[in-house]
Amino acid sequence: MVAGGGRTGAGAGAGAGCFPRRYPLPADEVREKNQDERQGGQFLDGMDLLKDVTENKRFLPTGVQGYPIWIIDALLGGGLRQGQLMEITGQSSSGKTQVCLCSAAHVAARHLGVVVYLDTSNSFSPRRIARMVDVFPISLVNEPKHVRLHRVMSSIICESVFDIFNLFEVLHQLELSLKKKVNNGSSKICLLIIDSISSLLAPIISGKYPQGRSMMLSVAMILKKLADEHNLSVLVTNHMVAGNGAPKPALGESWKTVPHVRLVVSRDRGSNICTATVLKHTLLASDRHCMKFAVPS
């Protein structure tokens, strides 16, 4: 259901049609971009980029069911784009973590690759993921339920991160292992989730000292570099803080430019229907359209 903005469902579909089509089937052989080609001062022309985008930049499904029937991926123009950074922001208990867990489950279930989940608030719940996987339609993947559960759960890797230095270390390790994986070609990481990045950054950001801000921007730089070089889709969550009047996303103006896509989720107290609004999108027309979805059960 498209509530705000002037777009109809058909409009959203047509909008997405202008852009490279989706490759939802994992069976599609995705040609690996030769990393060496791109390094060492080689430039790419527009046609190369277009080819790269159509062949390599898949949309990963969030799998979040809209309410009553829409799928939130349509709102995002296809889902989580590889090579891009998406941010979900929202009040406490508005469904941010649920979107993260659901995306992780769907990406892993569709054989798209390995998911790395960095958890800062002990809210990664394997039980919740198991329950989500359990209710997936069995036709999605043709295998017994317990085999599927084991496979899905094994391809989600979780690490707890409790301070910013730890985050730097983990991201560095991740980069090294990504580089290694390019060479030996085993199962590839395709989605990196950080839930939530703002709780790591909140203790160090202040008006007086510039170091915190510069650390925030170097995290942003590393994330974007990982996304670009290794064709990762990066999903981070952000908090809402009290602004003048209405709540606004945390981390301030300089973070605003970092994510490619910003999504705000909100939920009325006591109901399990969430509203998602696109604040910023690099592909779709920028009017703020929103959509309701149910917290996945």
Binding site: Q91, S92, S93, T97, Q98, L101, V114, V116, Y117, T120, S121, N122, S123, F124, S125, P126, R127, R128, I129, A130, M153, S154, S155, I156, I157, C158, E159, S160, F162, D163, F168, E169, H172, Q173, L174, L176, S177, K179, S186, I189, S196, S198, S199, A202, P203, I204, I205, S206, G207, H239, M240, V241, A242, P247, A250, R269, G270, N272, V295, S297
Partner: protein
């Protein structure tokens, strides 16, 4: 693995490369003092026989020294001095430590070794299913919490004064000690009291109530375990609560920092209760931005403690009024940014004459509410007889 990939400061990296260390293998042979002096094998030979350079003919006696040549020479000299590592020995030790880590990491393989120390969700699932939860005393409350208060998670409990936050806190400190044979965790509790509301007589009462319930459900417990006779005494329950009394926010920060060491020495602690996290931060702080930073730092520390030592952290919070959409509503204190810093949130409220608990936030469970009661024995299920709310007329 190359030096260029090491997670070290860029200037050191440049120095290492310039000094002739190009691979980790060459670094593994170095010891800190030698590294600090910057004398790799390659360098030493370079010292002995300085190579003939292109710039050399410029300053030969055949040609008069020009200003440009002099400048070039100076540059050359600077470059040569810069090549020396010129770092302190401790820094050299750090670099080698990083290099050793990187080497170890290189050896690992398989999909789960993407990150050292990480777990895949399958292992976490089986770990979670075998974990026990801390009984709250009320069956209905346990149901909405998925079995009780979870270890490895931070749970915030908030509500109006007199609703029973402290009672629930004390109840948890007692219930965590229920012996393993009776379905408990058999752990100890840390109680951090900022308001001075920890009444020890009441704790004794609740401990007695807990013991009488254990004996009701497990009538043969005392017969089976000969040591149980002396264990199931309120005194021993009291002895296993470590109590910290906090009188300022500075002390509160200090105690939370100290907990890391304390919990390392007392591995059998299964729950940390802070009653309440709000009190001092609500009155003594002027700089709100600083308060937000300090509190979010504290919450990350508590998250870390919960995860590392496999214990439950319970934070009690007060309420405040907030102006939302034209009316004043009750919300938990400490503001919007604090509201993100717990894993689960339970809000206690009055519904008519009944005490209710509402699960407001949880990553794994749906929002739900349940009645409970505070009785002489502690927190129990609400029944018709014990739910009287005393009203001041």
């Amino acid at each position: 693995m190359e030096i260029a990939d090491l997670p070290i400061c860029t200037s050191y990296r440049a120095k290492l490369l310039a000094a002739g260390y190009s691979s980790l293998a060459s670094l593994s042979a170095a010891d800190p003092p030698r590294l600090a002096r910057g004398t790799s094998p390659a360098r030493r030979t370079a010292h002995r026989a300085p190579p003939r350079r292109q710039t050399l003919p410029l300053d030969s006696p055949l040609r008069p020294p020009t200003p440009i040549a002099a400048a070039l020479l100076a540059c050359d000299e600077i470059a040569r001095v810069g090549v020396d590592l010129n770092i302190e020995i401790p820094e050299a030790e750090d670099i080698l430590k990083v290099a050793v880590c990187a080497n170890k990491f290189k050896g690992a393989d398989g999909p789960s070794s993407v990150l050292k120390g990480s777990q895949n969700a399958w292992d976490m699932l089986s770990d979670e299913q075998s974990r026990k939860h801390i009984n709250t005393g009320s069956g209905d409350l346990n149901n909405i919490l998925g079995g009780g208060i979870h270890c490895k998670e931070v749970t915030e409990i908030g509500g109006v004064p007199g609703i029973g936050k402290t009672q629930l806190g004390i109840q948890l400190a007692i219930n965590v000690q229920i012996p393993v044979e009776c379905g408990g965790l058999g752990g100890k509790a840390v109680y951090i009291d900022t308001e001075g509301s920890f009444m020890v007589e009441r704790v004794y009462q609740i401990a007695e109530g807990c013991i009488s319930d254990i004996l009701e459900y497990f009538p043969h417990y005392q017969d089976k375990a000969p040591s149980g006779q002396e264990k199931l005494k309120p005194e021993s329950f009291l002895a296993d609560i470590y109590y910290f009394r906090i009188c300022s926010y500075t002390e509160q920060i200090a105690v939370i920092n100290y907990l890391e060491k304390f919990l390392g020495e007392h591995k059998d602690v299964r729950i940390v209760i802070i009653d309440s996290v709000t009190f001092h931060f609500r009155q003594d702080f002027d700089d709100m931005a600083l308060r937000t930073r300090v509190l979010s730092g504290l919450s990350l520390k508590l998250m870390k403690l919960a995860k590392t030592y496999n214990l439950a952290v319970v934070l009690l919070n007060q309420v405040t009024t907030k102006f939302i959409e034209g009316s004043f509503q009750l919300t938990l204190a400490l503001g919007d940014s604090w509201s993100h810093s717990c894993t689960n949130r339970l809000i206690l409220y009055w519904n008519g004459n009944l005490r209710y608990a509402y699960l407001d936030k949880s990553p794994s469970l749906p929002a739900a509410s349940a009645p409970y009661a505070v009785t002489g024995k502690g927190v129990r299920d609400a029944t018709s007889s014990n739910c009287k709310r005393v009203r001041v007329m």
